[in-house]
Symmetry: C2
């Protein structure tokens, strides 16, 4: 007689699969634990150079801190009259998209029992700067389009590896925000 | 007799205003120089941890490199079964938004002759993780909403400082992408 339950998955790809699946089941029973707020605090430095700190967030019912704060610089390149003290703001979006899809691929592969050996992706975003430079009202400010190109290697047929990336796309927070948009409010507090 | 041309703006806030305005005029006459492509290359490390490199980009008619490569880690926090080796992918979006608005504020202030002394912003994004965890089909994967809260100090009345932030929002590449969305294609190349 065949058991009709799937075998429990062990940890794989550095993912603690049993813990991840238990967490999902736990949150399913207590949906208030799923409410998270993520945050960045940004300080202007000079010119177009600014620096963000990312440390605290809210989630799983309480205030949380990352193990350590991360500080990230952003600037415009010299060809756009910046000091090039860091990547441009739009490159940080591409990093966010790449890393969101990548985390999904690893989690989903672990849940499906697929061992990954190498995964990488290139993310390119095309932008016509006549928008932000105020030269043309016909040209949008942001990217015209973004292309993600994955290379993936693991112990499964190409079709199964392709499905990992498809499912990562279907469950990606950043892919959703970038393709569907999100309401953003901008508030101001002046200091006199 | 009053001259009917505005005085030329000098450098201000660390912005080389004459160079910036000359660049805009130059690009206006050669629109192909405004076509840029920004890039991130991401490598899976382990679990939900990945690392991006940002170095090369295309723009102003040729391949360009930043002064140095920037490497950035991303991971899920331990409460979501990650190893917390860096900010989450969605926090990187918030950093991109903050730094884009901030660069705009500095450039626009310089163009308007307003000296800034301090500018900072907090960016918060609310997300219900029942989407990405696959618990509810009613809940979106991405942020429900994002709130940006600026503090700004400079040698202009509150109304003028507020207008800087309003204009930065109106000309922000990242604000446009996050609020209006952008087409994203995901391609796959498997290694067998």
């Amino acid at each position: 007689m065949q058991p009709n339950t799937k075998p429990a998955r062990g940890p794989l790809n550095g993912v603690d699969t049993p813990n991840l699946l238990a967490t999902i089941n736990f949150v399913a029973g207590q949906p208030e634990l799923a409410k998270f707020q993520f945050r960045a605090h940004n300080q202007w430095v000079e010119g177009t150079h600014s620096k963000s700190a990312m440390l605290g967030f809210y989630g799983a019912g309480q205030e949380q801190n990352h193990a350590r704060a991360t500080y990230a610089d952003s600037d415009h390149p010299t060809v756009l009259c910046g000091a090039d003290r860091g990547p441009t703001p739009v490159e940080w979006l591409l990093h966010g998209l790449a890393s969101c899809l990548m985390a999904g691929v690893a989690n989903i592969a672990a849940a499906r029992g697929i061992k990954l050996t190498k995964v990488q992706c290139a993310v390119d975003g095309d932008i016509d700067l006549r928008g932000i430079l105020g030269i043309s009202e016909e040209v949008r400010n942001g990217f015209q389009n973004i292309q993600v190109s994955f290379e993936i290697e693991g112990d499964a047929p190409a079709e199964k590896l392709n499905q990992l990336i498809e499912q990562a796309r279907a469950r990606s927070a950043v892919f959703d925000v970038l393709t569907n948009g999100v309401p953003v409010t901008v508030g101001i507090k002046t200091i006199q």
